[in-house]
């Protein structure tokens, strides 16, 4: 029975995979491009299935949003939070810490910073942004500190704890906008009052909504890049991720490194959250994050954990948000195409990543080998 199952599998999938002698550098760069191509092809087929012209739909999704300068500045608004979260996550993933908690840290950053902004509602001093941003950063950091404590002290699986913390953070935000932070003059809508003008992040140019959060993102990129390529702690994180046993042998403190990676990620995601609240949103709302913390995971993988790759990938993922809104406006297609495209990207990426360490070779269709004993007996 088992051999017949194998036979079926072999007919369905007449290839076998073979480990390469060493990982292919070329493939690690080509893999994201293959994944993007496969996503576009699937999108093409999907739009045909939906009965819309695939070219128009893909054009509306991926090109139209950035067909003018205004579109690019809007893209910058989406890139900033993705970049901040992804740079933090890349640090964790490099150390093989599966931190899925950027979403919760983002939300807590928005909540902490937002609460501070509401406390300074009447203030007109531009210095008020300092405590607001600090509150956001510290809230994100504190949220990741819980995850760090659970991981290092209690050895709890960080994937599960960070995801639980995401749901708790979301409920904390919901509680606050339904309760203590609800706008008293807001007709009972679950949202806070609009922040004061002084609490909003300065715009880069008066004609566009793009604000200085993009600079935060680029700053984080440079800082983490320098840290990982030039510093002692960055080196230790790299070694820990590559070979935990070697790191231990070298006397690197795994706990300290885990704390460092998680706290940095929390601070950056918190900054992203408060920047979103005091940036394009301007108040606390239940859907403060359109899933930036989860999308940032895809950004890190797609960007090969390298700063330049992460920048490019956050632009692509940012574009999927704009594309979803665009096809909804222009073609009345569901906005949730965003999540679908993001999911497909990650899935195809993991499949193509196989080509880095393995190559696929076709199983040669050999005729059933004639039974040698039988041949002998005949002769």
């Amino acid at each position: 029975m088992h051999s017949s199952l194998n036979a079926i599998l072999e007919t369905l999938f007449p290839f076998k995979i073979e480990k390469r002698p060493s990982d292919s550098k070329l493939m690690s760069y080509l893999s994201p491009l293959i994944a993007i191509s496969l996503t576009l092809i699937s999108g093409w087929l999907l739009f045909i299935a939906l009965g819309v012209d695939p070219f128009t739909a893909l054009y509306t999704f991926f090109i139209l949003p950035i067909s003018d300068f205004y579109g690019w500045t809007e893209l910058g608004i989406k890139v900033a939070p993705l970049l901040l979260c992804a740079m933090g996550l890349s640090l964790c993933f490099k150390a093989k810490i599966w931190n899925i908690g950027a979403e919760g840290q983002f939300i807590m950053g928005a909540l902490g910073g937002g609460a501070m902004a509401l406390a300074f509602l009447e203030s007109e001093s531009s210095w008020v942004l300092v405590p607001i941003l600090m509150a956001g950063i510290l809230s994100g950091l504190a949220w990741s500190a819980i995850a760090a404590l659970l991981k290092t002290h209690f050895k709890a699986n960080e994937i599960l704890t960070t995801i639980m913390l995401n749901y708790i953070a979301l409920n904390a935000l919901l509680y606050c906008v339904h309760g203590p932070l609800k706008d008293p003059e807001g007709f009972n809508f679950p949202q806070s009052a609009l922040f004061g003008d002084a609490s909003l992040l300065p715009l880069l140019h008066d004609d566009y909504r793009l604000n200085i959060s993009l600079l935060f993102g680029l700053l984080a990129l440079t800082a983490i890049w320098t840290l990982m390529s030039r510093s002692w702690i960055g080196y230790q994180i790299n070694v820990l991720g590559e070979d935990a046993a070697a790191a231990k042998y070298a006397g690197f403190k795994e706990k300290t490194l885990s704390w460092f990676a998680l706290l940095t990620c929390g601070a950056l995601a918190g900054l992203a959250g408060v920047s979103e609240a005091t940036g394009p949103v301007g108040q606390l709302v239940p859907q403060i994050s359109p899933g930036y913390g989860y999308a940032a995971i895809i950004v890190v993988f797609l960007g090969r954990m390298h700063p330049v790759g992460i920048l490019l990938a956050s632009m692509l993922l940012g574009l999927t948000y704009m594309g979803g809104e665009m096809v909804q406006m222009e073609m009345t297609l569901p906005k949730s195409l965003t999540g679908l495209f993001q999911g497909m990207l990650l899935f195809f990426l993991l499949a193509s990543d196989l080509l880095i360490s393995y190559r696929i070779i076709r199983i040669k269709k050999t005729a059933m080998p004639s039974d040698p004993t039988h041949a002998v007996s005949q002769g």
Partner: protein
């Protein structure tokens, strides 16, 4: 607290625990074979949305349940293909399955949000349902709850006294040795992964067809992840999964339990409880780290590539 309220609480506990039992049993089987599938949430969401769509299109709730199961199996085969045949990283692939399932289900269900259906109705078991208190709690449930009892018994029996159960464990502990004794490692792993998918799909269908019954984006709200913790908490034993799922079920209906008391807590704070409880359980487990390790299938998460 009067007896009627207590009955209602236990009745609701079983209802809320049921999807957790289904997912956790499926994931347990999957993990016993050495495969860690973090995509439970994605498979559940797909089961929920596709089942709901089928219910509206066909008008037949039982066809809809079957469709839910198939949706979960389909998602699981995607995961299986990547993680078993293409030996991809199981953690990353499972996460991808969750993100992909979340996106795909939101997309498919976009026009079904806010649509109502009657849902699967309770089925009173003759005679047994007339027993006071216990009758209401155990025998006035809907058919999917009874199915969860049966599936529990099935999984328990398979691991207790069948060769299949033994083979699954062998594959999860030491695939090389299992292969040497003539067990088809990949075959068993596919079987278990797809069974896990069927269970997650069924659990999703239970949510959208019986429990709520409606479709809303991300309606599983982390139940797949809680189930994953539950498997560890239950140290891969079916009977403990059953117990743990009902404990978590009870944690999710705190609002009902608090009705009998004078405490008033905001619903959003109560909603945190299952997640806090999960973290608490994970911490508790750490105090028993050695024992947890002992129960973990040895090859959990390690891809197996046959030497050809």
């Amino acid at each position: 607290m009067d007896i009627e309220l207590l009955t209602n609480i236990l009745y609701a506990t079983i209802r809320t625990g049921t999807p957790l039992i289904l997912v956790a049993l499926g994931e347990m089987v999957c993990e016993k074979s050495g495969v860690l599938n973090l995509g439970q949430e994605g498979m559940m969401l797909m089961g929920a949305v596709v089942g709901f769509m089928a219910a509206i299109t066909t008008g037949n709730l039982y066809v809809a349940v079957l469709v839910s199961i198939f949706a979960g199996m389909f998602m699981a085969s995607l995961f299986g293909f990547l993680s078993i045949s293409l030996v991809s990283n199981q953690v990353a692939t499972g996460l991808a399955l969750t993100i992909f399932g979340g996106g795909l289900s939101a997309f498919l269900g976009a026009s079904y949000v806010g649509v109502g259906i009657d849902g699967i109705q309770p089925l009173n078991i003759p005679l047994l349902s007339d027993i006071p208190v216990i009758g209401k709690i155990l025998f006035q449930q809907d058919p999917l709850v009874y199915l969860s009892f049966a599936l529990f018994a099935l999984v328990y029996w398979v691991f207790k006294s069948t060769r299949l159960g033994l083979n699954i464990r062998a594959v999860g502990e030491n695939p090389e040795a299992a292969n040497a004794t003539g067990i088809n490692v990949h075959g068993i792993r596919y079987l278990c992964v797809i069974f896990g998918g069927a269970m997650a799909g069924l659990a999703g269908g239970y949510l959208s067809l019986a429990y709520t019954p409606l479709w809303s984006e991300g309606m599983t709200a982390g139940k797949g992840w809680i189930a994953l913790s539950l498997v560890v908490f239950a140290s891969w034993k079916a009977e403990r999964i059953m117990l743990g799922a009902y404990l978590f079920g009870a944690a999710s209906i705190m609002h009902l339990i608090l009705q009998g008391t004078r405490f008033e807590v905001a619903p959003n704070l109560l909603a945190m409880l299952p997640y806090v409880a999960t973290i608490f359980v994970l911490v508790l487990l750490s105090s028993n780290h050695a024992k947890t390790k002992l129960n973990t299938p040895m090859s959990l998460g390690v891809p197996y590539r046959p030497q050809l």
